[in-house]
Symmetry: C2
Subunit: 331 residues, 2 copies
């Protein structure tokens, strides 16, 4: 395999609180090889960075691409980042604060690195290769541990006045007596409809004696319940899981309707772990709830679809940021 | 008074379901004269258009500006308009459908006319002369008969994919068992926090026997209750009105928080009849509710302020549209 005179490949990394995904991309953003690892944030900063490096090197090996052919590595992080300075300001799921991640990664990987918020990475991925490819205006809703959103206006990521736009998980959908949210407020969409909230509700019900397939599927260890187990229980017709996820779909639909009424996008595009695992079941329910709350609802008014990228939206966006950095430096 | 060789003045009209406001503006958008009339939509299309013409001519008289000095008239209309074709598509409060208003007005006024949605007019007014003057990104919330919103991004009115952005009155704030909204859905912000909703709640309570100053202030004719009467009762400490308006402030604050979390604007700017009449009382309550629901709330995060223009936001925006039309034609 010839790699030309330029270092022509990039690596995209999706560094989540639970798992690390990495992939090697060619110039056309085709995946040449990939790897997946648990994050294990309990290992601390050095431990996690070592795992990221291993994950990148194993993806290179699986792609049969040498280290010397890589121009840069882009990393999507679940938190607030200062992209220009390469610093993670806050990443609650990793318990990181003001961490100079780019410097630490470059030291470990011997490759130029770039940072981006994971939701912004996913949104870029959807815009470049997913179902937002041909759209100028759309909103992404990523349903995972939390709920994040990305807004594309005039074909560009809209970041807001202070780079804090898209906090759609913190729209209020339960104004009275809603559950406490991780942000400290109450009744946020994330507090009733994220995978985290769904798991908490299911586990609480099981602990109170409710019967559910989830108990068998997790071998009695409820700390292991993730999207995959919820999806299996849902598809098997588990009543508890169905009720709680259908309820979440109602609220996600209300959130989608709010976004449609305010922003009037061409589409609302759903992604994230829970949609990846249960999109086929959840999407019709989300659409139905949204359409009951959109003003002037009609099929032409807006599309509500999945990202078309499965788990890959974030690594694609991270790869795009790596590529953009390389191109800026070459100029 | 010399009017130069160009027709250098424009007229801005705010055509509401209840009243018509008009004003003559000089080149610097200073008001030279103004007039106000009841709309009386029951007179039908011809009757209303005649009243608009009278209102314009009386504003000219009060400004001592001759008809020949007017370059164009801009009209803000409470409904969906096709600006390019000069047609009002739907204006529910006037009961107008597909009305070629520009043609009818030009025939009556013998002046070029231009249309704009009233909320978009108000937003333009706030951007050019109000508290959005020095801001690049903000959201307006107009609280009147209904609740409308305008979004300014990168210093321009953001209209959305289909020109339907800013329907902030139809964000869902009461997800379970909310009141029916004029749009046909339930639990919309407009259905609990508009002046119309507040009046309905107050009148219903009075009809059920609740004591309120409003009964005296409207001389027992509840069809006459408007912002001014609500404001007087509120300031006098009327318990019923205080409870209902404070409740509305809570929901307006939730709506503002949703907009802040999603769009991350520099400011949320409040206007409309109810804010004009009761801003001093309502704004602190709206701010408090919003800040309880904004993620990462801090005084620097966002400003929540009034328009700084009182009732004039819409006529200023309408005048701007008239001026823009004239400038386009001169090129």
């Amino acid at each position: 395999m010839s790699h030309g005179k330029h270092k022509q490949y990039v690596v995209g990394v999706d560094l989540g609180g639970t798992k690390i995904l990495s992939a090697v991309f060619d110039r056309n953003l085709r995946v040449l090889g990939r790897e997946k690892k648990n994050t294990r944030p309990e290992l601390g900063v050095d431990g996690v960075i070592e795992r990221v490096a291993e994950c990148v090197n194993e993806a290179l090996a699986s792609a049969a691409v040498p280290h010397t052919a890589i121009a840069a590595v882009g990393v999507g992080v679940p938190g607030m980042v200062n992209q220009a300075r390469g610093v993670v300001r806050i990443a609650p799921n990793l318990d990181w604060h003001d961490l100079p991640l780019v410097k630490l990664l470059e030291r470990q990987l011997h490759l130029p690195a770039a940072l981006i918020n994971d939701v912004q990475a996913g949104t870029l991925g959807v815009k470049h290769l997913g179902s937002g490819r041909k759209l100028q205006n759309f909103v992404c809703m990523f349903i995972g541990t939390g709920i994040g959103g990305g807004i594309v206006l005039n074909s560009e990521l809209y970041r807001g006045a202070g780079g804090m736009s898209g906090e759609i998980g913190h729209m209020v959908v339960v104004p009275e007596g809603g559950p406490k949210c991780g942000c400290g407020n109450r009744g946020c969409l994330e507090s009733v409809a994220s995978r985290g909230a769904i798991v908490r509700r299911v586990v609480t019900a099981i602990e109170k004696g409710r019967k559910s397939l989830v108990w068998d599927l997790c071998d009695g260890d409820t700390s292991r319940v993730r999207s995959r187990i919820l999806a299996e229980a849902y598809r098997e017709g588990d009543k508890l899981v169905r009720r709680i996820i259908d309820d979440a779909c109602k609220y996600i639909g209300i959130g989608a309707a709010n976004l449609i009424n305010v922003i009037n996008p061409q589409a609302v595009i759903l992604g994230g772990g829970l949609i990846e695992a249960l999109g086929k079941q959840m999407l019709p329910r989300i659409r139905k709830s949204a359409m009951a709350h959109v003003i002037g609802a009609s099929p032409e008014r807006v599309k509500i679809v999945d990202s078309g990228l499965g788990d890959d939206a974030n690594i694609i966006g991270a790869a795009l940021v790596a590529r953009a950095m390389v191109e800026t430096r070459r100029r």
